[in-house]
Subunit: 253 residues, 2 copies
């Protein structure tokens, strides 16, 4: 059985902890967080601590804290021949400085406090310094998910950037859609089936093929009308994205 | 039983025709398209024509053609006391000039040729000149969908604009994510669960609450690194959307 220590109290740590506690093939022996408040609810299920010098000996230490804190915490874990991994998309494996072995256990999903994630469909991106550690991480990942990838630090940096577009920036589009609905006094609910269909479609056809709308058709009449309906910030976004669509399809003519 | 004529051969007309032909409570008596080729496959199931002067008498004429052609086609339908509706988000009801009664039957969904839509979840936005016609449209809509709204032309214009953001512009984000994956030689597939989760989340929490990422956290370190990784067009989009997120959350501080 793999012995695990999780370090962190945010959304990733919270959901990973909850999930691993339910798994009989994994032994979550300890959870660390700098404030005990956030992990107090775990004390009947595992050992908790806010003191890095009291970490127990484990096979894998999973650092699931904010990007700013990862490197500092990693440097304070001192167990020879044990494996320290972080869960960050943006930090390279070799940015960690520790006496332990190093690796990455990146869960490519957006975690929200009150939504229980379906771990089985979350892609787990693994990286390690050697085959033995990679195998160990693979063993852990396969207890969690059915989609596992070996991804190096350079690839992961790009994946993380792509995730900013398909998640954070997509959400900006939803926010603007929401604002427009509010202004016109129509319920945002009406747009939800379209939002889901737009996301689902990408499972079958490429974004290049899926593009529709006034910009794709170069329907300048509608585009000009739309611009007059928007406040300046949103108009700027509308104009830039319309230009981007034009450029994509003009290049292929 | 309601007698219907559909005018058009594009994606909306195609799927609506296929769907109504299966419905025993609706009588699709004719389909018009300016080219018969596109509707030839229907000739064993209903009457087809490419001649507007040969339109049969029906209760509702549904014009599902490109925005440019709607007004011209409507002006050529001449049946007193019959109802002509269009399916466009961008065109006002009173933009139609016809001797018939006027209305709108707007299906707020993105239709793709080879994907069979789940009509029951598609919001149908109705508008008519009088109660009797609205009731008739409602009767038709309820044969198709369980989500029906009365939406006036002004509201619909805004809905259509919001749809450009949550559908067309969201797809641009997917396209850029796809490009980044290609550059880094990682499969775009890895992002699909995140894409679906981002869309599903909006069913439960508002886009304002759902926003995460480096821009929301004001993680300038990551933002600057990301910018260096992008070609100029994508960097411009990254910068503008990051600025927009800053602005949204700074206003609320």
């Amino acid at each position: 059985m793999i012995n695990i220590v999780i370090l962190g109290g945010g959304n990733v740590a919270y959901h990973l902890t909850t999930h691993l506690l339910k798994n009989a093939s994994v032994n979550l022996i300890q959870v660390y967080n700098r404030s005990l408040d956030k992990i107090q609810h775990l004390k009947n299920f595992t050992s908790i601590t806010n003191n890095l010098s009291k970490l127990k000996e484990a096979d894998i230490y999973i650092i699931a804290v904010s990007d700013d804190a990862v490197i500092e915490i990693a440097s304070k874990i001192n167990f020879k021949n044990k494996l320290v991994v972080h869960t960050s998309g943006a930090i390279g494996m070799n940015d960690l400085h520790t006496n332990c072995n190093k690796g990455v256990f990146y869960l490519l999903q957006s975690f929200t406090k009150n939504r229980i994630p379906d771990f089985s469909s979350i892609p787990v991106c693994l990286e390690a310094e050697n085959e033995k550690d990679l195998k160990l991480l693979f063993q852990l990942a396969s207890e969690i998910s059915s989609t596992i990838y070996e991804i190096n630090s350079e690839q992961r940096k790009h994946l993380h950037l792509a995730a900013v577009f398909v998640n954070n920036f997509v959400n900006v589009m939803y926010k603007i859609g929401h604002d427009i609905c509010n202004t016109a006094n129509v319920p945002f609910e009406i747009l939800k089936p379209l939002i889901l269909e737009t996301a689902s479609k990408i499972g079958e056809i490429s974004p290049y093929e899926a593009q529709t709308g006034p910009a794709r058709r170069n329907d300048t009449n509608t585009i000009e009308k739309h611009k007059t309906m928007l406040p300046i910030n949103q108009r700027e976004i509308y104009t830039l994205l319309t230009k981007s669509i034009h450029k994509t399809y003009a290049e292929k003519l």
